[in-house]
Subunit: 273 residues, 2 copies
């Protein structure tokens, strides 16, 4: 199989460069060695980075792939002129045509995060993370009222990582409402949830997978037994179906896929679609 050294270079954190590069690389059957070089915001640092890239090119006798999100024009030009890797440059490629279309110049400011602490959107995100942490399995009505989204499902169906991702990526206040055996005995939606039906989203999971996950935490417990998992999942799904709650199975899905689907379905008011 083909293998290459891949550099991710940015004058900011490099997180965008990495997201960008990984998405492109995922289209190829190849292995790669990754080198992250964030905060490359001076010609001096660019010089060092280029030396490292060119050294790699020489040693490996083929071009490293170099994914860049460099805003500073001089730094970018330095790479264009001196780097012996294959330059895949996101900003240069798209910002210039956009300047033409919009009829305005880009301001070439590094990082969408600078002096972030004053940004409302950023503070909302941090508040949402704290909210999700503090309302994990929280069940007071006040918590539910303040939530943008309420995830329901049996224990270990994926509610916690999903709610954290919704908070971190979208600044949404997500709380979790675990369905427990008492809820199944009652055989209808827990009364606390009824006023919040529009915000509810259910997560379910294949009982075999659930049993595996629970066994890692409490080996050989009744809680983790396949029989009990089958019973809980069947009861939770039947309750959600009867109550008209939208739900999906997390078994083969990533938290990114789960979160995106929830957003599409719940369309919380705080997000402008």
């Amino acid at each position: 199989m083909t293998t290459r050294t891949v550099f991710f270079i940015s004058d900011g954190t490099g997180i965008t460069a990495e997201t960008f590069g990984n998405a492109i690389l995922a289209q190829f059957d190849m292995t790669s060695r990754h080198v992250r070089l964030p905060f490359i915001d001076t010609i001096d640092k660019a010089h060092q980075a280029v030396r490292q890239i060119n050294h790699t090119a020489e040693v490996e006798n083929r071009k490293p792939l170099v994914f860049t999100t460099i805003v500073n024009v001089e730094v970018l030009q330095f790479f264009e002129q001196h780097c012996n890797g294959m330059l895949l440059d996101m900003f240069g490629t798209f910002v210039r045509p956009l300047e033409v279309e919009l009829g305005i110049k880009s301001h070439h400011r590094v990082g969408r995060f600078s002096d972030i602490s004053k940004s409302q959107a950023y503070n909302d995100r941090i508040a949402a993370i704290n909210f999700s942490l503090e309302h994990d399995d929280g069940q007071s009505d006040r918590d539910l009222q303040q939530s943008d989204v309420i995830l329901v499902g049996v224990s270990r169906s994926g509610k916690t990582p999903t709610s954290l991702y919704l908070a971190m990526q979208y600044g949404l206040k997500a709380s979790n409402y675990p369905l427990i055996p008492e809820d199944f005995d009652r055989n209808h939606l827990p009364p606390a949830l009824v006023p919040h039906r529009a915000k509810l989203f259910g997560l379910t999971i294949n009982p075999e997978r659930l049993s595996e996950i629970r066994n890692e935490r409490r080996p050989n417990s009744r809680y983790a037994s396949l029989e009990n998992c089958r019973m809980e999942v069947a009861a939770a799904e039947s309750m959600m179906r009867r109550s008209g709650i939208r739900w999906l199975s997390t078994t083969t899905k990533s938290i990114e896929e789960i979160a995106t689907t929830i957003l599409q379905e719940v369309r919380p008011e705080r997000l402008t679609y």
Copy 2:
């Protein structure tokens, strides 16, 4: 100020399209209305999306910006042929030149997340999230031993969101070790931390900002008072300086910037740089 409607279109979750588009848009002083259209993976869905874009173009009498990460060739061609927006297409732009450079064809598979549950990297990420959640302010030596990174700092200096971000983005097991008044009285590094010096990273914060944050949670408490915050921050910084712990101030930094800096400094073994 210029304003545009911006579409993010993908045959997957659209998270990459959004990261990509937002990074580009951050280079322009403009306001924008965002429309996310994930999971556009058939010609039928593309048809609906194009209708929505073209309708917007007509109503607003200017081209919407359309950021796409579409893998499926037919779907992408449908957009290229029928969409009246300005198409900014990440995959088409970079994947084709890469095919030439690598001498292999891309496989045009949607989503780097499909059947993710079997991926070791993904399971490591979920395990790291759970670890960080369960070891927030956890202090047993076993926890510290298993950690890839240990964040130290006074209460509310930013440890928790940072450790969650490290887990979610990089699959790192990050635990938090809050510095409390008893640690300052003792005036040297808490003994539990001494064996793990290489994994330690300190977070500090401007006392005025800390007092603001603490006041939101416990108004008018001694804990939140500016005097106490000044004392704690000074004591923590002096302890970190004396113990040779690397640290940074989180006051004006985003969790992305904090996390990236920590990675650069600590270079945990589990990450291949």
